[in-house]
């Protein structure tokens, strides 16, 4: 395998010509993406455009039928999910997927499952509680008894407990009240400012383009547009199709 020096220098994560099929139905075709070492990259698109599939392919939940994914210079598309986590990619899945019958604290500690640095885990746990005071108030409560917004915070906190080098967020705004969505947006920006690059998948294009530095637009499995988020926000097609303007 010839390493490509360009990709490892210019991007943390690179998707090259990737395709994913579900039961012979193509979900994503010939996708090319670069995720830089910092900032927020968003993937927007309608339902079924392939946004979730793209994240699932990165974290190893869905296998590629073609192409490759490189993280930090090494290929990760042939790894299973637990190996991808070990490389430093944390994935907050669509629908939050917290462990319903475990407490808040158990959920968070499970996020640090692969780590052995006990002291750093404890300090990261306090950091998560500092970021999400609601989680600290409810640390002994079962996750299933919490509201949607609290569960989303828990899912993000759980991902941060892995001390990720790249954070994948799948529709963190889904089903949340506008005031919580705003708060979620602030938190995502905060996380990226603290040095964790974020890939944000969103149906809420207005929100996503407001937060992100760079954006990709997917339509029925194809990449149709990309560019700095500010530019895409002014793009006629994006304004018509996704911003309702």
């Amino acid at each position: 395998m010839q390493p490509d020096p360009l990709s490892s220098e210019s991007a943390l994560l690179q998707i090259v010509g990737a395709s994913v099929n579900y039961n012979k139905v193509s979900a994503v075709r010939n996708l090319n993406m670069k995720i830089p070492h910092g900032g927020i990259v968003t993937i927007i698109g309608a339902n079924g455009a392939g946004k979730t599939t793209t994240l699932r392919a990165i974290s190893g939940l869905s296998k590629l039928s073609g192409g490759e994914i490189r993280f930090d210079g090494g290929r990760i598309d042939n790894l299973n999910p637990e190996q991808v986590v070990a490389r430093g990619i944390a994935h907050v899945p669509e629908g939050r997927r917290v462990f319903p019958d475990m407490t808040v604290e158990e959920n968070l500690r499970t996020g640090a499952f692969l780590r052995r640095d006990q002291e750093a885990i404890e300090s990261d746990l306090s950091a998560v509680f500092g970021r999400f005071p609601r989680l600290e108030e409810r640390r002994s409560q079962l996750a299933k008894t919490m509201s949607g917004g609290e569960q989303q915070m828990l899912a993000i906190g759980r991902a941060l407990m892995a001390k990720p080098r790249l954070l994948l967020l799948d529709e963190p705004s889904m089903g949340l009240a506008p005031v919580i969505v705003e708060e979620m947006g602030r938190i995502v920006v905060e996380i990226s400012r603290e040095g964790v690059p974020v890939v944000l998948v969103e149906q809420n294009a207005e929100l996503a383009l407001g937060l992100a530095d760079y954006a990709y637009v997917l339509e029925t499995g194809n990449l149709v547009l990309e560019g700095p988020a500010k530019e895409l926000h002014e793009n006629d097609h994006v304004r018509r199709a996704y911003l309702g303007l």
């Binding site: 974290s59 190893g60 939940l61 299973n80 999910p81 637990e82 986590v85 070990a86 944390a90 994935h91 899945p93 997927r97 917290v98 462990f99 319903p100 019958d101 475990m102 158990e106 500690r109 499970t110 996020g111 499952f113 692969l114 759980r158 892995a162």
Partner: protein
């Protein structure tokens, strides 16, 4: 009358103990792997034969034989995971069918090795705890009760306190989300199979001096275990333990005051009643049912 009630309660406690060991193992395997292990009764039978072979035939100490039963059957469980359930991971019905096939293989192997006659082995102790003239508990039965309490407590601590215990619970609640935390489903499935099969094996091993051991003995045990996990709620370990206690008491009391056939009917009726009133069982959420 009071003494008869006390004696029956002691008998029921003994029955609840080994039923709980078998049912909890079955629930654990189902919870983590989503597979209904029909061969679970035969794992119980293997544990009993471990004691027949090592304790009764070869003369090793009883508790050593029982411990070997636990570990040996646990390893058989790991083998089942690797060869049957892992290749059929996304096919729960396939896992069920494969476990039925494996059940037939184990029964046949046991018939070939040990013959089809019923083994009645001598107890490892003749001691009896006498509480009064007509209330007593053979120490051999006490071993089963104490063994179940110790092992189920240890399992509870493992699941609540240890890193791998959390991993097991996380896998049972959401395998994909667990994988995203770096938890290997192969590893949790292996641990669940070892524990689940091992508990069935040790239940068979501890009860071997108290029952007749034969290749088809697993049948009645698994029927009871299925009733218990349906009453308790599929997927709930606490439910399985509580339901084992309830079932054992109902069954033992009805057997004592009426007869065994009526007790079986009452046990099944109990299951139907639970299914009518609360189809998910006492503690079940029916997530994976």
């Amino acid at each position: 009358m009071l003494e008869l009630l006390a004696q029956t309660a002691l008998n029921a406690t003994y029955a609840a103990s080994y039923i709980a060991l078998v049912a909890v193992g079955l629930v654990l395997i189902f919870g983590v792997m989503g597979v209904v292990n029909f061969a679970h009764g035969e794992l119980y039978m293997l544990g009993a034969y471990a004691v027949v072979a090592l304790y009764a035939d070869a003369g090793f100490p009883f508790f050593l034989a029982a411990a070997v039963g636990l570990i040996f059957v646990g390893i058989v469980g790991i083998g089942m995971e690797r060869t049957l359930f892992r290749p059929l991971r996304d096919n729960p019905l396939g896992g069920l069918v494969a476990s039925i096939g494996f059940l037939l293989i184990l029964q046949s192997l046991a018939s070939v090795w040990f013959g089809v006659r019923m083994e009645h082995i001598p107890p490892s102790t003749q001691q009896i705890l006498r509480f009064s003239d007509s209330v007593s508990l053979p120490v051999q039965r006490l071993y089963v009760i104490v063994g179940a309490v110790i092992l189920l407590t240890a399992l509870w601590l493992f699941l609540k306190r240890s890193r791998f215990g959390w991993a097991l619970r996380a896998s049972a609640q959401d395998p994909e989300a667990a994988a995203l935390q770096g938890i290997s489903i192969n590893q949790t499935a292996r641990i669940a199979m070892f524990i689940g099969a091992g508990l069935a094996g040790v239940a068979g091993a501890l009860t071997a001096p108290l029952v007749r051991t034969f290749p088809y003995m697993g049948h009645s045990v698994i029927v009871t275990a299925f009733i218990v996990i349906i009453v308790g709620g599929v997927g709930s370990l606490e439910g399985a333990v509580l339901a084992a206690v309830i079932y054992a008491f109902v069954h033992t009391f009805v057997t004592t005051f009426f007869d065994g056939v009526i007790a079986d009917i009452v046990g099944l009726s109990l299951m139907l009643l639970v299914l009518i009133v609360k189809p998910t069982g006492m503690f079940g959420t029916a997530d994976r049912a």
